[in-house]
Symmetry: C2
Subunit: 139 residues, 2 copies
DNA sequence: GGCTATTTGTTCGTATGTATA
DNA sequence: TTATACATACGAACAAATAGC
């Protein structure tokens, strides 16, 4: 699989696609490191910015986790997600957090934020990569 | 308000903060254009990439909308959001969509995706910038 | 503790293409 | 057509974090 610089599709999108496919196929299994930037630059003959943009896409999709000075690692599909039960009448929105919200709620870079609002109560927020919301069953 | 290149805080984060504050304070009102890249480069004495990264942050937060060849514009806070009612037993997660998902569900660039799963049914997905999820009241 | 190699993070410069006015 | 503005992509440099010795 190679990257076509003349494609209508930007190189960083192509590279993200290659890496996404490798993850989805199991070629890159959870816990395994994604090849380093330098390796990807050499393997695909692209610039560093192209590699970094591709990685950032996978990070935002929750597929990999990047550690400064170490590398990027494939995340498990359902690693450890806390289940939060929703109260009746709750309204849920999701968006990217501001830095202040990232700090306040402990949200990783590139990860969306859940905002749960309930009439007469203060809004609650959760990192979307570590929390699943649940509507209680009737039983 | 100025940007300090020697700060521990990256210049693009500082600039995003300045612009965010300008939007939140109403100095930049909904519908108004954000200053152009060239203007921001000159006003703050930073490189183009610094400006572009700052803008991309605001875009991901849903605060601005960027139109190629024109500029970035401040988005209205609660423009028009569809309310989707959740069935009992639903489980909700949120993440950035892959390109295929963006096409399939009509999600704008930099906007998270809601994924609603219900036992025994196919998962449903919604663009998080146009949809609010609601847990029905008991009444 | 330090030192070194590796890797990611940030910033600048430059160039080309595309879309809009 | 020209000017403006955003999108992509290359190269380069230095800083910061990490790991191993």
């Amino acid at each position: 699989m190679t990257i076509d610089p003349d494609s209508y599709e930007p190189a960083y999108i192509q590279l993200a696609g290659l890496l996404r496919a490798a993850i989805d196929s199991g070629e890159l299994a959870p816990g395994q490191p994604v090849p380093s930037e330098k390796t990807l630059i050499q393997q695909h003959g692209v610039a560093r910015e192209t590699v970094r943009r591709a990685i950032s896409i996978l990070r935002a999709e929750g597929r990999v986790q990047t550690l400064a000075g170490r590398g990027s690692y494939v995340r498990g599909s359902a690693d450890e997600a806390e289940v939060v039960t929703l109260a009746p009448g709750s309204r849920i929105s999701s968006r990217m957090p501001s830095p202040a919200e990232r700090r306040q709620y402990g949200v990783a870079e590139g990860v969306p934020l859940f905002v749960v609002e309930l009439e007469g109560q203060e809004a609650q927020a959760y990192p979307a990569d570590r929390v699943i919301l649940e509507v209680p069953s009737l039983t």
